[in-house]
Amino acid sequence: MDPVYYIYLATVLFSIGAVGVLVRRNAIIVFMSVELMLNAANLVFVAFARMNGNLDGQTVAFFVMVVAAAEVVVGLAIIVQVFRTRQSASIDEPNLLKY
């Protein structure tokens, strides 16, 4: 099977994640969409590692996972804090930095 199909799958996942970021209003679901996009990128790396025949892609995917974990930690902490003060988890809530 042509490993390119994995790339197509990752493309579709990435787009779905992007649409999720744009369309959903709950902050946590937006965050989950971002996670989905990161996972799609990981899939691309792994597929390329297989196509190129070396493990560099897998290493990078590993690092992506680490970074995603760190990012989730900080991001969720922020959401929790915002929720404590505003009692709302809507991503449209912090809109004061405007004209």
């Binding site: 679901i29 290493t59 760190a70 902490a77 929790v80």
Partner: protein
């Protein structure tokens, strides 16, 4: 006819992944979205294994699904499990353009990548995996030699992230913390209520309902003895049994007469 096993795995797991992704984006309840994305991640782990990346697949399940998504669920609990989005879109044109751009993104990426990679070929990772005696060893070799600096940097990043979370969620104590001693003292102050246990609802020979209040030594009703849900629903449910007994006697007396 040899069926390409990998193709089967791809179709099933890939299909489930897409369904999961769509489900995540389209569910109304946040918890459902979390479960859907967990499904996506597990399927992705299977696909990683299919691509000769067993280590990465296991790490995906353990770290990503097991830790990160659980963290998501904990935060969902803080925020409100049953919180759901309203379906009305407040920003004009957001939904339309969002979907439009998403589709455009997918088409362009697929088209571009497709034309670039038509004859890429598939080298396979057998040789790379054998080089150091296994997939884990091979990745370890790369991490600790070529990507050492990135490794150290991500380590620092993790520490920083942890510290950041602690600091971000720190709650400033605006009032002095109330100690147990102070709580006990407050309990025994005059007018503070019952120092001891609250009275049970009255259980008598003729009435053993929850809505029968106990009687205090001075003859008054102890409304506190009626459980909160009953009390808050309707005051007429609370029955003073003495009144009931007197009424019953009167009625029975009449019946006898």
């Amino acid at each position: 006819m040899t069926i390409d096993g990998e193709l089967v795995v791809f179709i099933i797991c890939g299909g489930l992944t897409v369904i999961g992704a769509l489900g995540m984006v389209l569910s109304r309840k946040a918890v459902h979205s979390a479960l859907f994305i967990a499904m996506v991640m597990i399927n992705l782990a299977i696909l990683y294994v299919a691509n000769s990346a067993p280590f990465l697949g296991m790490v995906q399940i353990i770290v990503y699904t097991g830790a990160v998504m659980m963290l998501f669920l904990f935060v969902l609990m803080v925020v409100g499990v049953d919180s759901s989005d309203s379906l009305i879109e407040t920003i004009r044109g957001q939904r339309l353009f969002g979907i439009l751009f998403g589709v455009a993104l997918a088409v362009l990426l697929a088209g571009g990548i497709g034309t670039a990679l038509t004859d890429k070929g598939d080298v396979g990772l057998d040789a790379a995996n054998e080089e150091f005696g296994g997939n884990v060893e091979g990745i370890a070799n790369l991490i600790f030699s070529d990507y050492l600096f990135a490794f150290q940097a991500t380590a620092a990043l993790l520490i920083t992230a942890g510290l950041g979370a602690v600091i971000l969620t720190h709650r400033e104590a605006w009032k002095p913390k109330v100690t147990q001693k102070e709580l006990s003292v407050a309990r025994f102050m005059v007018g503070a209520g019952h120092p001891g246990n609250k009275p049970n609802p009255g259980v008598y020979a003729r009435h053993n309902a929850v809505n029968t209040p106990a009687i205090l030594p001075d003859g008054s009703l102890a409304l506190d003895s009626v459980p909160e849900p009953v009390r808050s629903r309707d005051d007429s449910l609370i029955i003073d049994h003495r009144v009931v007994s007197t009424v019953v006697e009167l009625v029975e007396g009449e019946d006898q007469n």
